[in-house]
Symmetry: C2
């Protein structure tokens, strides 16, 4: 194997493992960008926390922005894989909606890093996301799922007819997302720890109740 037999015992030489290296960089970069933002994150800091060097970051990702984009794409790829199999088609419309809302709620609750990355991307006017073909093609299946559930509910005469699927998704997402994204300012102003376990169930019930009450409601607003 080795041609230099006289090599001192030291086996701890370099092991080439490009996949591991890339994965390692991405993992550390996700933490860094999620914690400090794109402008606030430091390439040197990322390099130090990996088992490789800064040179490798540029070798694999080209630039700081390239790395950030890779982090963002990986984060979105992960949620896309999660949102697939809820199998709501067999459930009664009300139960299907409850399941869907609970799933969204739990996703944001359990992935604060993703929530932060999305906030950061919004601060940057979603400019990186737009430039990514991968994320750009996220034509989210969740909307079709919601639309189908709404349609079934209307068919059964229990849902109002003027609810748009994207709007409803926004109503659900907004609450679930805000609860995590604005945890710190909201918690500070109202002296309430939004990550407290007792609020978890209460808030989950709340958004379920609100959404269901809304889709069944026949009231029109004067607002």
């Amino acid at each position: 194997m080795k041609n230099n037999v006289a090599r001192p015992v030291d086996r701890e030489g370099r092991k080439n493992d490009p996949e591991k290296t890339k994965e390692d960089i991405l993992r550390v970069a996700t933490e860094e960008f999620s914690a400090y933002g794109l402008s606030g994150g430091r390439v040197d800091a990322i390099a130090e926390k990996t088992r490789t060097s800064k040179r490798m970051i540029y070798y694999y990702f080209g630039s700081k922005e390239g790395l950030y984009l890779a982090v963002l794409e990986k984060a979105y790829r992960k949620i896309r894989s999660l949102e697939a199999d809820l199998e709501l088609a067999d459930m009664p419309p009300v139960e299907a909606l409850r399941t869907l809302i609970a799933s969204t709620f739990d996703h944001d609750e359990n992935n604060p890093d993703f929530v932060r990355l999305v906030s950061i991307e919004n601060i940057h006017y979603a400019s990186h996301m737009k430039q990514s073909s991968e994320i750009g093609e996220l034509n989210l299946s969740i909307v079709k799922t919601i639309a189908a559930v709404l349609e079934r509910g209307r068919g059964e005469g229990i849902f109002r007819r003027d609810v748009d699927a994207v709007d409803l998704h926004m109503l659900i997402s907004a609450f679930c997302f805000f609860r995590v994204s604005n945890r710190y300012t909201f918690g500070t102003i109202f002296h309430r720890d939004l990550s407290a376990p007792e609020l978890y169930n209460r808030h989950k019930h709340m958004i379920c109740d609100a959404v269901l009450a809304y889709v069944r409601c026949s009231e029109t607003s004067g607002g």
Copy 2:
């Protein structure tokens, strides 16, 4: 007001006007930090856009973070002054809630800079806000207002009894805030311009209906 009557008619020399200078810096800094964040914002860029110099920024605000904090405090001071006089006490509970929701909705819609600053502050874990005595004491009157309206509604037997005022404020804020803060990513994914005028009324009606349906609803969730 001025006691030096013999003020020479406009020599184009320096005019000392500390209030104007501070105000000018704050105005420009708000734009810069709101656009690029705390880490992304550049002190030099701010200085160039003011009619004064970088020296003055450090003279009045001490540091970049000091300036950022001043920007944040001014933004919160502004909303505090706005949220005072809605005079909901005389309205029927349902109308009072509608008015309150519409007001929150319009505030976020009309103050995207404020929304961005709050997002940015959350990325920083609200650390500056916590260190500000001024903002820290924002014991928002809006919660008392909501609590009073809820109480009246319960008295009239039209509102459910288990709704917490802070939770309800969060439900309202979340939708109004998200609509502005996540405009870019959400809009990109769903190919929908969230600042489009026709969505303004639809979304306003939606959050009104949802909240009102919720507070009247007697359903308990199985989620």
